[in-house]
């Protein structure tokens, strides 16, 4: 047993010596030290400039109608999408109807490398009906986003963190939707 203890201590001493040599001993290589740099500088936030955005809301003729609004519009595309969606969710100011007929929150925005934005909304509290309501919701959001964020190509709407096949049993929500101007009043 004594012999074992001796060997343990010996090994520990050797290891510590090795450690010290590696840490503080002269390197085998000449070292040149560059100026030290602190971590990433924190950029000062600058308020986004106010811009006119065009938001689409359903009208009494069953078509989407534009409403122009001046809002601070960030240049960064995630923030831009968020701003547009929040403005749509806030609802129309005039005689138009809300695009999303329940109190929905925007819980996430993802953008892939092909320019598809995925927006996640809180799920409807009770089932909706009618392809018309489904189309107004889909293209009210999709067209509003795409008209204000030209760098994006398509939008997929998720509900409650999930991809859904359809909302009222008509429109395909399982894939991204592209700009569809056929539902906008001319």
């Amino acid at each position: 047993m004594n012999r074992r203890v001796f060997w343990i201590l010996a090994a520990a001493v050797v290891s510590l010596a090795l450690l010290a040599w590696v840490l503080f001993g002269p390197g085998r290589h000449a070292i040149t030290r560059q100026d030290m740099v602190e971590g990433d500088a924190i950029p000062t936030p600058t308020p986004a400039p106010e811009q006119r955005v065009m938001l689409l809301f359903p009208g009494s003729d069953g078509l989407l109608h534009p409403e122009l609004r001046s809002v601070p519009l960030p240049a960064e595309v995630h923030e831009k999408v968020r701003t547009v969606v929040l403005e749509v969710l806030a609802g129309p100011t005039g005689n138009l109807q809300p695009v999303v007929p329940w109190t929905a929150e925007l819980t996430a925005v993802f953008i892939d490398h092909e320019g598809t934005a995925f927006i996640d909304l809180t799920a409807p509290p009770k089932p909706l009906t009618g392809s018309h309501n489904e189309l107004m919701l889909a293209y009210g959001l999709v067209d509003s986003i795409l008209l204000n964020c030209p760098s994006l190509t398509s939008i997929q709407i998720l509900f409650g963190g999930h991809e859904i096949p359809t909302l009222t049993g008509h429109l395909d929500f399982s894939r991204p939707l592209v700009l569809n101007k056929r539902f906008i009043a001319s």
Partner: protein
């Protein structure tokens, strides 16, 4: 005999040595602001900015010259015959005139430009023929790229009724194999080559979510229940052809009846909703499920009287998955598919009938047309346009099937407009689930709004339902008699 106490002590001893030697590997973390890089017997302490490391001293260490072009905003690295360009803020590196996409972007820094270790290893040192090996103090730069020579991969997809053909065109011959992953995705392995997706690739498919290059693999994320059916390689140009489609059967509420056809191709009528799904409901209590069944029966009688074979997708009270309804029409080789619905709006004033057909989005059609024109101009100039041209022709063939649906939609809506004295409602395109994958002219007819009180009461009358059925039947006949 083994002494258990002695065995235990030996374990403790080995653990202590491992611990102490392990601790000796930590010095790289002692200085949080620099990392040492070694190359050919020389070393340099390179400043760190968060997770990124200054790039210029590392390039200088291997003897590569890096110059910043203020006008272009890019760094040009020269090493022997190799020329490499990268731009702070951009996930792209140009190696000898070829664009490679990178996982992250380098950033401007006090020393000029800083990048992640992965970027330095894969996107800068790799193309120059080096790799990073971790050592206790930091990293040693050694010859031999970690990642094999890049191969540029251009992806194109063509969606068909039930399957999608995904074509990966490679810029050089490489052994590549595809297989399904456990989590339902697909992976393509490249032998001794690191695939880089052509940054210009814009993939449009309803079954392919995304393509990602990772090391020697391309990961393909597919839609729900979509998987790899089969794959094969083609030469000249080197390609990997993947056939994707539904891999798990969709559970259906009722055991699927064996739908077999006897006699001429039928017109398939789909009464919308069904079972527990009532669809839209009017204040009067009339619901979409029952209304569409009633109109479907009148339409069926009307068409039979005119000499057509007719099949319905569901019986009274029966539910049916949306995809099964289209599948029935496809299996019966129907000449026409008509899905009947009644609408609902939050505005009670909205009224009228509408006819929809599937949308192949404008942008995709425009892109296909532009790509065709480009390929036609380049015809003969390159052999590798052939596969793309085939794909585009397939896409255009799909578009022509949609043109037939458009013709049917116009024929039906014209009669509905005349019946209902409508002017402003008409034919529209939208990606409806029940029309997806139909291989025949297919439309969805919304016969009216149950949310409009006047229209709802009219929709409840048998005479109006018969009039709607007659108008739709006349539209169908007009379409079928078109040359």
């Amino acid at each position: 005999m083994i002494d258990p106490a002695g065995t235990h002590m030996r374990k403790v001893l080995i653990a202590s040595i491992i611990f102490l030697l392990g601790a000796s590997l930590l010095p790289a973390q002692v200085d949080l602001h620099t990392v040492e890089f070694q190359y050919a017997g020389r070393g340099v302490l390179v400043p760190k900015l968060g997770t990124r490391i200054e790039v210029i001293p590392i390039l200088a260490l291997i003897g590569a010259g890096a110059e910043y072009s203020r006008a272009a905003g890019t760094y040009v690295v020269a090493y022997g015959e190799k020329r490499l360009q990268f731009t702070p803020g951009h996930k792209l590196v140009m190696v000898d005139g070829k664009l490679l996409d990178t996982m992250d972007a380098p950033v401007p820094s006090p020393g000029g430009v800083a990048a992640s270790l992965d970027f330095i290893d894969r996107s800068l040192l790799g193309p120059l023929g080096f790799r990073l090996d971790p050592i206790p103090q930091g990293y040693r730069i050694v010859p031999g790229a970690r990642f094999a020579e890049p191969v540029t991969v251009r992806a194109a997809a063509a969606d068909f009724a039930a399957t999608t053909t995904l074509v990966l065109t490679l810029d050089r011959a490489v052994i590549a194999e595809a297989e399904s992953t456990e989590d339902g995705g697909i992976v393509v392995h490249f032998d001794d080559a690191s695939p880089r997706l052509d940054p210009g690739t814009l993939l449009r498919s309803r079954r392919v979510r995304s393509l990602t290059s990772n090391g020697r693999e391309i990961l393909i994320e597919t839609g729900a229940d979509i998987g790899l059916l089969n794959w094969h390689n083609l030469d000249d140009p080197p390609r990997v052809i993947l056939e994707l489609g539904r891999v798990y059967p969709t559970p259906t509420p009722a055991p699927a009846r064996v739908v077999e056809r006897s006699g001429p191709p039928p017109i398939v009528i789909d009464p919308g909703h069904g079972g527990k799904d009532t669809g839209a409901v009017a204040r009067t209590g009339l619901n979409e499920r029952d209304l569409t069944m009633s109109v479907a029966r009148y339409l069926s009688a009307e068409l039979r009287a005119r000499g057509h074979a007719v099949r319905l997708t569901r019986e009274d009270g029966e539910g049916r998955a949306l995809t099964d309804r289209t599948a029935i029409a496809n299996r019966l080789e129907a000449k026409i598919f008509v899905s009947l619905h009644a609408n609902s709006s939050t505005f009670s004033s909205v009224k009228g009938a509408e006819t929809y057909y599937m949308s192949l989005d404008d942008q995709a059609t425009d892109e296909a047309a532009a790509a065709t024109a480009k390929l036609e101009n380049e015809a003969g100039a390159s052999s590798d346009g052939r596969s793309d041209l085939d794909l585009i022709l397939w896409d255009l063939a799909q578009a022509s099937a949609l043109n037939e649906s458009a013709g049917l939609a116009v024929a039906v809506q014209t009669r509905l407009n005349a019946l209902l004295d409508l002017r402003d409602r008409g034919v529209k395109q939208a990606p409806f689930v029940v029309l997806t994958g139909a291989t025949m002219p297919a439309i969805l007819v919304e016969v009216g709004f149950l949310s409009n009180p006047t229209e709802a009461s009219r929709l409840g009358s048998a005479e109006h339902q018969q009039a709607l059925a007659r108008a739709i039947a006349t539209g169908i006949e007009a379409f079928l008699s078109e040359p």
